[in-house]
């Protein structure tokens, strides 16, 4: 799990100051955790990164991919590592309200 800067969180009226900061420190420590304002893209990105980290830690898994794709294990590793950056591409543009209206 990589450390990213804390995403801006949607204001949360439910929580008072105490648990808000708790949540904040939770997010700071575990990047993959989410909150009510997490988008699908963010969630999917985290899934991918966690999965890739998981594959990279298991040589047999890498071997399997290597055999299936017909490339060397090192290449598989490199591909996976490169994919870490933006596994799901750029985040989708925010649709404005009138687009929804169309």
């Amino acid at each position: 799990m990589q450390r990213t800067t804390l995403r801006t969180m949607a204001p949360n009226n439910q929580q008072n100051g105490g648990s808000f900061s708790q949540l904040e420190s939770l997010h700071a420590r575990y990047v993959g955790t989410g909150h009510a304002g997490t988008t699908q893209h963010e969630w999917a990105t985290n899934q991918h990164r966690d999965s890739i980290a998981c594959y990279l830690g298991r040589p047999s898994m890498l071997q399997y991919f290597a055999v299936a794709e017909g490339i060397s294990m090192g290449r598989v590793k490199l591909n996976l590592l490169e994919k870490m950056h933006r596994p799901c591409g750029e985040p989708p543009k925010k649709k404005s309200l009138d687009e929804f209206a169309k």
Binding site: Q40, C54, V67
Partner: protein, 1240 residues
């Protein structure tokens, strides 16, 4: 009687004359009529503040007069006997309050004179126009007021309404001289004039309100003559309603204050409540804060004065007029009083004797009337918004503006409205209930920017400087400052100085929390205002002449450094420490470094080199104080960075080691201290070298009589000796002999600090040179006749033996040691003994182990002897010693001796003193432990019946030891005792289940388990289940724990059926109790629960769909424990079933319930794996309703943290999510994890 009147007519200077037609002027009090009256420079108006123009003039005159006529004050002082009498009277009326020591003390009362200096710091004006005000001569008057202990006038007071009577032009009353000593206080002007007889002679005494005025009130000339009376009437005026209430500051003065005011002795003033007003410097009058009017009248004082006034009234001398009425006119002649006659009358009494009141008033029921409240300055009715607030006396002054019900905010200017709003919030924060306070706190921080920094700080800061401030209040105000700092951010910049003046003294407060709060505020301030502002604000204080200011400034800078990081402060510190201008600046800079080291600890390490370089020149400074502080700073830096960073100290090694040869006294102590902290950082060989270098000095200073030097030397010796590089031989031969000669003397044992230092250092030396060397030197001293010295030896023996054992001492030393210890043990006094002999002896015996055998007989003999002693403490120690050596006795094979001890102790079970009884029980317990139940003497069946009544004892120590002993017997030797006896004990134990000490509850619960095991669970269980019906919650909770314990010790199947049967009773307490014990049960039996899960599932199911919240909560806890217990047993089906019942509860909002639900779900996540839980979660993670998402993400976060890897295979395929990319093409597989589709 008639004489009295005649006599007064003589008008001698020593006497006072009142109530007579001719001389209505007290010449002693108010000066002789002739020459003084002729003074033309008198200000002839009572109140100079009526109009601005006049005010200006008067101020000037006032000031000038104050300068010129100061010596005149001496002649106008109240006579000493009057003051003493009044003080005695008030002392009689207000005897010493027995609860005084428990009353919350104000901070000012607790501070020493150094800390109190903080209050005297100048609060400069917050506003420019205030500064302008300050330039007026009013400033000088204010200072005068402060010196008098009187509240300064508040120039911002609204102009008086035209109807208010103002001072009469002086021409109207030519005789009425304006009193120079009367503080020009607008308050006096606002006095309500009472109906006063205009026909009275101009000098007539105003009629206090306690006496109904009898004279017809034809006209009401607003003659504010009251002001002249306040001075000589210390107490009697307090009860009166008239214009006195308007000058609260004056009223509150006790007699002492009065005196101090006249005598101009500021020290006395400072001691009084109303004194010690912060000295407001040049513009402080303009700050216009209510805090300065802190004078408050304690109600008891008012009552006392009222009472006294009444007495005086009744005992007043009879006047001529009255005598004329009483006595026939003929047959009597009026005699001249002899010249030697002196009536025993005090001016205070005379004041009460007024011609206007012909008869003594009848008794009035003392009622808490509105009048009385007003007298105290308390508004009759508080505004509605503040109704519920508790008020302290001084609050009525501080918050006077918002306490008047009749004043409405609407018709005030906006600025004042804001002021009142803030004041109201502050009052609520200070005195409100927690809820009120919370709301007010939130409001004030939310609206902070709206109010603006200035109005807020203008009110809070003076309150923080108030001399009547208490800890709680300061805490709250500081909290307010903290909150608003966050909100205000850079807006506070102009006010940094004011905040610092108030907060800095907190950094050296005695109270730890005050220091922490002060640090927090300053660090927040630094973050809000930024480094440049902080530096430019505090720079003038760096070389301030007052040491107090420099001290606090250095500490504040240290806080700023730790808040903003050392690197940003380094250039500034370098400049300050190298200052050529003044040594004060260098001193402050180095002190800042020192404080930074203390504050930041090991975090100084990255910048250690720079810091040392910055301060190193201070070691060679020409100013002694700078050298001193530099050495201290180096010591703190070395301490903070230990055990690293020696290379940074390289440049200072030479000056330090040279310095110890050059300096003496305090500086030498500081240098040695620095060396002591630096040596442990060095490599072993260097440490050895440098330690030897310093040792010659150290040994020389062993003999120093200076206490501080002794402390430092001890510490340095300890640090040197503990270095691995220093050779034992060197310490043994060179250091130790001198050390023992100089420090092991009786005088060292008398001071606590030295005591500790010697004990610790000797331990270090023993670790270096071995036990036998040290003990050999000390053993003889065990028989010393000085008690404290013996204790020091004993403590050292204990520590050394405990740490190093006794394996290397020979038998001769061993014998001497035991002999000495036994002597010390027996010589210990029966009072003032901390048990050090007991501890030392038991440690030595334990360490001797087998070698102790020869001495045991002797020791047991001593114990038996001392068990008979009259003193309870000695008996207790004897019993404690048995407990400590029982194990060694077993090792030495002295079973017979132990049996004997058991019987002896058994006989002492009738002991009355609970502490001793507790110790005896503990001794019994340790014997039972060692010897075994079966061989116990006396036999168990005799012992236990004696213990049962002791269980009723309320003393904690007795209860605890007794229950543990009973528990031991129940565990190992239950068969010795009849079941009936055990049942009886069971009932006793039920009481103990709610004992306040956890250890007792724990052993009581454990004993339940043992007893249940011994006599079968059914009887015990019946008792316990019945106990679930009791009202008291603690007892029910303990019962549930006991049930669970019984189930654990006797197998769950013996208990579960009856529990489940009991659950059918439709009573909430019982059902909850069963569920709770079920939850404990599952917690205790862990995986055994697998056998019973199917049996209890229907019951839990029922509980989970119950209406009652607590019911579901407890059931959830039970499910959580159950799930954790059965993990890996293949019981997922039941768990899924239970989870289905748990899941709907996730939207509960009560914190206890939701926590229980979450813990149940997390328990299930452990047992089922995260996958199934994720399936539940997927429904709600992106639910349209935020409330739903909130809860689901919370649960998701829980399982993500618990088992993130486990989620990887369980994540759903996201192929169904359509995404538009940059080119507005819809992609459907961007979120897919393609690798997982690879197939070989």
């Amino acid at each position: 009687m008639r004489k009295s009147a005649k006599e007064t007519e003589q008008g001698t200077a020593a006497r006072v004359a009142f109530g007579t037609e001719v001389a209505g002027f007290d010449e002693e009090l108010y000066g002789a009529p002739g020459p003084l009256r002729a003074r033309d420079d008198y200000v002839t108006s009572i109140n100079p503040q009526e109009s601005d123009a006049e005010k200006q003039k008067d101020d000037d005159v006032d000031a000038a007069f104050l300068q010129s006529k100061k010596p005149a004050s001496a002649s106008i002082t109240a006579p000493q006997y009057l003051i003493e009498e009044a003080a005695a009277a008030s002392a009689k009326l207000n005897p010493q309050d027995p609860f005084k020591q428990f009353m919350p003390k104000t901070i000012a009362e607790q501070q020493n004179s150094y800390l109190a200096r903080g209050l005297k710091r100048v609060l400069s004006p917050l506003r420019a126009q205030h500064a302008a005000d300050a330039s007026k001569p009013a400033g000088s008057r204010v200072e005068q007021n402060v010196a008098n202990g009187k509240p300064p006038a508040t120039p911002d007071k609204p102009p008086l309404p035209p109807s208010t009577p103002t001072a009469i032009p002086s021409t109207n009353r030519p005789k009425r001289k304006r009193r120079w000593d009367v503080v020009a206080d607008t308050a006096t002007t606002v006095t309500k004039t009472q109906s006063e007889d205009s026909n009275l002679p101009p000098n007539a005494v105003p009629v206090p309100d306690v006496l109904p005025p009898s004279a017809p009130s034809s006209t009401k000339p607003p003659i504010p003559k009251a002001t002249r009376w306040d001075a000589p009437i210390p107490t009697t005026t307090l009860g009166s309603r008239s214009r006195w209430d308007a000058t609260p500051g004056t009223m509150s003065m006790s007699q002492v204050t009065k005196k101090s005011r006249w005598d101009k002795t500021p020290m006395v003033q400072a001691a009084t409540t109303a004194g010690a007003t912060p000295i407001l410097g040049a513009g402080s009058s303009a700050v216009n804060t209510p805090f300065v009017q802190n004078g408050a009248v304690p109600p008891e004082l008012v009552n006392a004065s009222r009472w006294q006034a009444d007495i005086e009234m009744r005992n007043r001398p009879i006047t001529d007029q009255e005598l004329d009425e009483l006595l026939p006119s003929d047959g009597y002649t009026i005699l001249e009083p002899p010249t030697s006659y002196k009536p025993v009358q005090t001016p205070a009494r005379l004041l009460m004797k007024t011609p206007a009141v012909p008869q003594t008033p009848l008794y009035n029921l003392p009622t808490e009337s509105e009048v009385a409240r007003e007298t105290l300055g308390i508004p009759v009715e508080l505004p509605d918004t503040l109704k519920s607030i508790q008020m302290k006396p001084e609050d009525y002054k501080n918050f006077a503006k918002v306490l008047d019900k009749n004043s409405k905010d609407e018709d005030l200017p906006a600025e004042e409205q804001v002021e009142r709003k803030i004041m109201r919030l502050l009052l609520k924060i200070k005195n409100g209930t927690p809820n009120v306070r919370k709301v007010a706190m939130r409001q004030i921080s939310e609206k902070a920017r709206e109010f603006g920094a200035e109005p807020l700080l203008k009110q809070i800061l003076p309150l923080l400087m108030s001399p009547t401030l208490e800890h709680q209040e300061r805490h709250l105000y500081v909290k307010v400052v903290d909150r608003i700092l966050h909100k205000l951010g850079e807006l506070v910049r102009p006010h940094v100085r004011h905040i610092l003046v108030v907060i800095e003294p907190m950094l050296i407060d005695d109270d730890y929390y005050a220091r922490v709060e002060g640090r927090e505020i300053i660090s927040n301030l630094a973050k809000a205002a930024g480094l440049p502002t902080m530096i430019s604000t505090m720079r003038p204080d760096i070389d301030h002449q007052d040491e107090f200011v420099r001290n606090t400034t250095a500490r504040a800078f240290a806080v700023v450094t730790s808040a903003l990081g050392i690197p940003s402060m380094l250039p500034f510190l370098r400049a300050v420490c190298g200052s050529k201008k003044s040594w004060e600046a260098r001193h402050t800079g180095i002190k800042t470094v020192q404080q930074t080291a203390i504050l930041m600890g090991v975090a100084v390490l990255p910048h250690l080199k720079e810091l040392v370089e910055i301060i190193q020149s201070g070691l060679l400074d020409e100013q002694g104080k700078v050298r001193l502080i530099t050495a201290h700073a180096l010591a703190n830096l070395a301490e903070a960075s230990a055990p690293y960073g020696i290379e940074s100290f390289d440049p200072v090694l030479a000056p330090l080691w040279q310095g110890i040869r050059l300096h003496r006294g305090k500086t030498l102590a500081a240098f040695l201290k620095a060396i002591g902290f630096i040596i442990p950082l060095m490599d072993p060989e260097y440490a050895n070298h440098y330690a030897r270098e310093v040792n010659s000095i150290l040994i020389r200073e062993f003999k120093s009589p200076d206490e501080e030097m002794k402390t430092v030397v001890l510490k340095v010796v300890m640090q040197c000796v503990s270095c691995s590089g220093v050779e034992p031989r060197y310490v043994r031969e060179d250091l130790a002999p001198e050390y023992f000669r100089c420090f092991w003397i009786r005088r060292m044992a008398l001071d606590r600090r030295n005591f500790r230092g010697v004990v610790d250092t000797t331990l270090q030396i023993a670790m270096k040179i071995g036990v036998s060397d040290v003990l050999g030197r000390l053993v003889g001293d065990l028989k010393d006749e000085s008690d404290p010295y013996r204790r020091m030896v004993l403590e050292t023996v204990e520590n050394v033996t405990d740490k190093l054992g006794l394996s290397d001492i020979n038998s001769a030393l061993e014998a001497r040691l035991i002999d000495g210890l036994l002597f010390a043990f027996q010589a210990q006094g029966n009072y003032n003994d901390s048990g050090s002999a007991l501890r030392a002896l038991s440690v030595v015996i334990r360490k001797l182990d087998r070698r102790a055998k020869p001495y045991l007989n002797q020791i047991v003999g001593i114990i038996k002897w001392r068990l008979n002693n009259k003193s309870a403490k000695i008996r207790e120690h004897a019993a404690d010693l048995v407990c400590k050596i029982a194990e060694v006795m077993k090792v030495c094979g002295e079973d017979a001796l132990m049996g004997h001890m058991g019987t002896v102790l058994f006989e002492y079970l009738g002991e009355e003193f609970p502490d001793v009884l507790g110790s005896i029980l503990r001794a019994m317990k340790s014997i039972v432990e060692v010897i075994g139940i079966n061989d116990m003497q006396p036999p168990i069946n005799e012992l236990l019946p004696r213990l049962t009544p002791i269980l009723k004892n309320r003393h904690e120590k007795v209860q605890e030891n007794c229950i543990i002993l009973v528990g031991k017997i129940a565990n190992k030797g239950a068969h010795f005792v009849s079941p009936k006896e055990w049942m009886r004990i069971c009932f006793e134990l039920l009481e103990l289940l709610k004992a306040p000490i956890k250890a007792i509850r724990k052993s009581a619960v454990a004993t339940f388990g043992y007893i249940a095991k011994a006599i079968g669970p059914s009887n015990v269980l019946t008792t316990l289940l019945n106990n679930l019906k009791v009202q008291e919650r603690t007892q029910r909770v303990c019962t549930t724990v006991a049930i669970a314990i019984v189930a654990e010790t006797c197998q769950p199947y013996t208990v579960l059926p009856s529990m489940m049967n009991e659950y059918r009773i439709p009573e909430l307490h019982v059902q909850n109790g069963i569920l709770k014990s079920l939850s404990f049960l599952f917690e205790y039996i862990r995986d055994m629960a697998g056998d019973y899960i199917y049996a209890v599932t229907p019951m839990l199911e029922d509980a989970l769909i119950d209406r009652d919240l607590v019911h579901r909560q407890t059931a959830c806890t039970a499910v959580g424990h159950l799930a954790l217990g059965v993990r890996g047993l293949g019981l997922e089906d039941a768990l899924i079933h239970l989870l289905n019942h748990v899941w709907p509860n996730i939207f509960e909002t009560s914190p206890h319930v939701i926590n229980a639900v979450i813990s149940a779900i997390q328990g299930c996540a452990v047992a089922l794996g995260p996958g199934p839980i994720l399936m539940y979660l997927l429904q709600g993670l992106f639910h349209p309703a935020r409330k739903v998402r909130d809860v689901y993400w919370r649960i998701y976060n829980g399982i993500y943290i618990y088992a993130q890897e486990g989620l990887v295979p369980s994540y759903p395929s996201l192929s169904t999510v359509d995404i538009e990319n940059e080119d507005n093409e819809v992609e459907d597989d961007r979120y897919e994890r393609h690798e997982l589709f690879l197939i070989v």
